[in-house]
């Protein structure tokens, strides 16, 4: 076996691992959708189906002292941080065994033990909070990087602007990761900005910015990895705009009828399962291995959700606890 072969083999192994992880996230979300449609879960739930490439690419970069701040569309990010799917299902199902004991729900998952400092359901609000996590790292002897993930629409929120300037002015180790899925709820981002290349805003703050393919975990790992490294070494924040797509509605129940001509076809071709499957096929990976990734993920999520469903509902008599120290 030549060195080129070895490299190719390792690239293929990585792609297969990535596909497995993408499938874990997707199978999780599809199971959540079933639970929501069956009425086991209630309320507004925002799935990340189609956007998994970003979280998968990022997952290996997140170190033990790092802190991740996501949005309501953050189930995949919790999984990327290593949170157990069962505890996430349980939270979404309002169970006592959920990561927040039912207090957070789908849109406010928190698992600090895994570096997952939680989802946030106020658009843009996580960005300044991430600055604080980075700031804490300056004083607690860690080399923490704070990763804040938000959507294209969040770029128009004042808090995100303040956070970017704050981080840039103080060279804080924050990575601003914009998942640009081209929609802010039901409205296309390109009609809501004068400059649709959102990463270009970085220059105005004096920080690097770039646009990457969020569908390719390998590219995410590489380019987001640079941003992590720069941050960790004291070089300050970066804005990374990861292009992606959500294949489903904004929330479960969204009729999702606003797509532009050709959009769905393009999305289906670009999305990470399609991309990684193509890549693996081209590299000669067997159909069995490829199908196995999906199968294993579905089995895992089937049993995790079953366990979560079996757990008791959150106990109403505890509802007043933990308001104050």
């Amino acid at each position: 076996m030549t060195a080129t072969d070895a490299a190719a083999g390792s690239a293929t192994a990585t792609a297969l691992a990535d596909l497995r992880q993408v499938w874990r996230m997707r199978a999780f979300e599809e199971r959540v959708r079933e639970l929501r449609l069956a009425g086991d879960a209630v309320g507004s739930i925002h799935l990340g189906i189609g956007q998994e490439g970003v979280a998968v690419g990022a997952s290996g970069l997140i170190g033990p002292d790092d802190a991740v701040f996501a949005t309501y569309r953050g189930h995949s990010w919790a999984i990327a941080c290593g949170v157990e799917p069962e505890a996430l299902f349980a939270e979404i199902l309002g169970r006592a065994t959920g990561v927040n004991g039912g207090r957070g729900g789908s849109a406010h998952l928190t698992a600090p033990g895994h570096g997952f400092f939680g989802e946030n359901s106020i658009v843009g609000a996580g960005a300044p909070i991430a600055c604080g996590a980075a700031l804490a790292g300056r004083h607690d002897g860690t080399d923490r990087v704070a990763l804040t993930v938000f959507g294209d629409g969040a770029m128009n929120q004042g808090a995100v602007h303040e956070a970017m300037n704050f981080a840039a002015a103080f060279s804080l180790p924050v990575v601003f990761l914009c998942e640009n899925n081209s929609w802010s709820e039901l409205t296309p981002i390109d009609e809501m900005v004068g400059q649709p290349e959102l990463f270009r805003r970085a220059a105005g703050y004096g920080m690097p910015g770039e646009r990457i393919d969020g569908n390719d975990p390998e590219q995410v790992r590489d380019r987001l990895g640079d941003a992590f490294e720069v941050a960790r070494e004291g070089g300050g924040p970066t804005l990374v705009e990861a292009m992606t797509q959500r294949l489903v509605g904004h929330y479960i129940g969204d009729a999702d009828q606003y797509r532009r001509p050709g959009e769905r076809e393009r999305d289906a071709e670009n999305e990470p399962v399609a991309l990684l499957t193509r890549r693996l096929r081209d590299a000669g990976t067997s159909d069995d291995d490829i199908a196995g990734a999906e199968r294993a993920a579905r089995e895992e999520m089937e049993s995790a959700s079953a366990a979560a469903l079996a757990a008791p509902l959150a106990d109403p008599t505890t509802a007043k606890e933990h308001l104050y120290a």
């Binding site: 879960a41 209630v42 309320g43 507004s44 739930i45 309501y72 309002g94 169970r95 959920g98 927040n100 039912g102 207090r103 957070g104 729900g105 789908s106 849109a107 406010h108 946030n120 359901s121 106020i122 658009v123 843009g124 609000a125 629409g153 969040a154 128009n156 929120q157 004042g158 808090a159 802010s184 709820e185 039901l186 409205t187 009609e191 809501m192 900005v193 606003y258 509902l313 959150a314 106990d315 109403p316 008599t317 505890t318 509802a319 007043k320 308001l323």
Partner: protein, 339 residues
């Protein structure tokens, strides 16, 4: 304050079967139709017709007076202030009342000051539509009832419709008002309440209340979606021989103090029920006004609300906090028996 303080009728009336959400739509349509200065904008309200479908069809029919905005509440509210100063009559949507807090400055420090500080040389007839409250599974940042915050802001009118008819009437009154008005709707009501709604009637003036039930043993003041629970509780208690007078104070600013005081004086007992947290809630103001008026009550006033908590997502936990119809009837019965 009369139940319906009216100004001359403007258009022909008709009655249609509408849900609460459709009634809001009809009110917006009427205002866009009869007031050329109106603008309607907010996140996802135009082309998509709103996340709850409430503004459907208005973009199609009124063109660029109806438009979608970036996710920029400060820009939405601030531009409404500016457009109103310059003669427009903007109707803007803040999708959830919780989101108003990212731009609360524009409401409190800007909008509410315009008329006062300029001695009326400038006015800001802005209507802010929003919705609030608890719904199953909603997280802590999408569940609050925040009317009390706005009711501590002099210069801003506030109302909270519960029926489809009021969803229509109050919104029309708000848009026609020369003062800024906050209209707090409730997303759980949008698909409900289908029934005859009288459209095109005379424009009401902000103010007034709805006597939802006459009674003699106690006055219960409530507003918003809680009204349904209170009425259910009142029906239960009626069977047990307890007669409640239920006042739905659809307008909270201006507040119908005289009517509430008169009712409490008649029944000799006052309860206030709201979905907001009890401490610092507007129920305290209602109690303080009645107490301040020297009404003799035979039992201390009762306040029921969220018991000073954040709002959890799990429905089982919310049930441990927010009073339901059963909790209300029980609490009221025990309270009256303690007299």
């Amino acid at each position: 304050m009369p139940d319906t303080a009216v100004s001359p009728a403007s258009t022909a009336t008709e009655t249609r079967e509408l849900t609460y959400g459709e009634a809001v739509n009809a009110a917006l349509r009427r205002c866009l139709d009869e007031i050329p200065e109106t603008l309607l904008y907010g996140e996802d309200i135009a082309t998509p017709g709103g996340v709850f479908g409430v503004t459907r069809g208005l973009r199609r029919d009124f063109g660029d007076r109806v438009f979608d905005t970036p996710i920029s509440e400060s820009a939405i509210l601030g531009s409404a202030v500016g457009a109103a100063m310059l003669g427009r009559r903007p109707i803007v949507e803040i999708m959830w009342v919780d989101f108003s807090l990212v731009a609360f400055d524009q409401v409190v420090n800007q909008l509410a000051n315009v008329r006062y500080v300029s001695r009326g040389e400038l006015t800001a007839p802005v209507t802010i539509r929003t919705q609030q409250g608890s719904a199953p599974g909603a997280c802590a940042q999408h569940s609050q009832s925040l009317e009390a915050l706005f009711l501590h802001v002099p210069g801003l009118r506030v109302c909270m419709p519960w029926t489809a008819q009021d969803a229509y009437d109050l919104l029309v009154a708000a848009v026609h008002s020369d003062d800024p008005v906050l209209v707090i709707e409730n997303r759980t009501l949008y698909p409900t309440g289908k029934g005859p709604v009288r459209l095109g009637g005379p424009v009401q003036t902000p103010g007034g209340l709805r006597v939802r039930r006459k009674g003699s043993d106690a006055t219960v003041v409530t507003w918003g979606a809680m009204t349904a629970r209170v009425l259910e509780a009142a029906a239960t208690l009626a069977e047990q021989g307890i007669s409640l007078e239920v006042l739905e104070t659809v307008w909270l600013n201006p507040f119908p103090t005289d009517e509430v005081v008169a009712s409490a004086a008649r029944t000799g007992a006052l309860a206030v029920v709201h979905e907001a947290n009890t401490t610092g809630g507007f129920g305290a103001e209602v109690v303080a006004r009645v107490a301040g008026a020297g009404v003799a009550l035979r039992v201390p006033p009762l306040r029921l609300g969220l018991p000073d908590s954040r709002v959890p997502a799990a429905p089982s936990l919310v049930a441990g906090l927010l009073p339901g119809a059963g909790d209300i009837s029980e609490s009221v019965r025990d309270w009256l028996h303690s007299a």
